[in-house]
């Protein structure tokens, strides 16, 4: 069985815990958590991840800056990124996708919806 590593970047404990609950239901997935963009970059540097799920509105480094940084890194230039945010506006969606995110999910999220998107992007 192929195993995949997923990084969840979210400053809200509530949201992070909920995302981790949903993703841990996928047996092939190992989930790592990060509090914000800087924490995520630290974890990305020392590990290899197959998919990244990130919030947009975060302190220290927001999700859009994180997507930009990830895409400029040769190691992660093709890794699927899902952006999760409270904003439902087309503008935010466009910005995230233009920076290189592969998919966009708006809060309040539904666990099955996130899992389906992860499976789709990882072709599981």
């Amino acid at each position: 069985m192929t195993r995949y590593r997923c990084l969840v970047v979210e400053d809200s404990q509530v949201m992070r815990q909920l995302l981790v609950f949903a993703l841990q239901r996928v047996r092939e997935l190992d989930v790592t958590e990060a509090d914000d963009g800087v924490d995520a970059l630290r974890k990305l540097a020392g590990n290899r991840f197959d998919i990244i799920i990130t919030d947009i509105n975060m302190p220290i480094m927001d999700g859009l800056k994180l997507v930009k940084r990830i895409r400029s890194d040769e190691t992660y230039k093709d890794v699927p990124i899902i952006v999760v945010t409270t904003e439902g506006s087309q503008e935010d969606r466009s910005r995230a996708l233009a920076l290189g995110a592969n998919a966009y999910i708006t809060k309040p999220i539904q666990g099955p919806q996130v899992v389906a998107k992860v499976k789709e992007l990882l072709q599981m």
């Binding site: 409270t86 904003e87 439902g88 309040p108 666990g111 099955p112």
Partner: protein
């Protein structure tokens, strides 16, 4: 062809040929066709039956998939309620509790603007937390008037229905959640708008708002008491004594 034999001789020859099995292959051919026909009919019957079984299997798979999706949704909703409850009760400072109430409303329900009113000293409740509303909009409210009177009297969450939901305000909120401490109402959350992409309530919203109604006030009061208590261990010792 000129057969010079007499008719009797020809008949005798034919009879001899029949008796000797000269026409058996033809007869067997006829049986084979008959068998083939029967086999074909059997296969056709089986094929119809298989198509029926296939259709019922597809229906079964569809039902199982729908049930699976339903269970996944229920599991998601249960996880959501667990996380909400866990995060609320895990706080030991009132500000943290309020931050989590705000997070739960924003992240899990999709609330764009709300105000939380607390206390009813002299029949007036004060706004102690809010989001998406200007200071000018927020003012102390009498618990005997307007929407607070409704929620203090009703004691259960009240959600306006509609899809899309109408525009709300503090005078006409989209949802009013009483903050219950035991059977007393000590405040209320007034939700005035949801995010634009969220046009109606979903089932778990009601459950979550009921959870807030029954847990938020006790979490807030408990955090307040813990924060004010300089000798927590001494208090716990007293608690132990009172339970004996």
């Amino acid at each position: 062809m000129n057969d010079k034999r007499s008719p009797d001789a020809r008949a005798a020859f034919a009879q001899e040929a029949i008796d000797g099995g000269a026409f058996r292959p033809l007869a067997r051919g006829g049986e084979a066709v008959q068998h083939l026909r029967q086999a074909l009919e059997r296969v056709q019957r089986e094929s119809v039956s298989l198509v029926r079984i296939g259709a019922s299997l597809e229906e079964f798979v569809r039902q199982q998939e729908a049930r699976y999706a339903e269970l996944e949704q229920e599991l998601n909703d249960t996880a959501l309620l667990y996380v909400a409850s866990y995060q609320l009760q895990a706080r030991s400072e009132p500000k943290e509790v309020l931050r989590h109430v705000r997070e739960l409303l924003e992240q899990l329900v999709g609330v764009e603007s709300f105000a939380l009113y607390l206390g009813a000293v002299g029949g007036v409740a004060q706004p102690i937390a809010h989001k998406g509303l200007s200071e000018a909009e927020l003012a102390p409210m009498r618990t005997s008037e307007g929407p607070l009177a409704t929620v203090f009297g009703r004691r259960t969450p009240l959600l306006v229905e509609g899809n899309p939901l109408p525009k709300g305000s503090l005078a006409e909120p989209l949802a009013m959640i009483p903050l219950m401490l035991g059977d007393r109402v000590i405040g209320a959350i007034m939700i005035t708008s949801l995010f634009p992409h969220k046009t109606s309530w979903v089932q778990v919203d009601q459950q979550l708002l009921h959870l807030l109604a029954s847990h938020a006030a006790s979490a807030l009061v408990a955090a307040h008491l813990v924060q004010r208590q300089s000798d927590l261990l001494g208090t716990l010792a007293g608690l132990g004594e009172s339970l004996k």
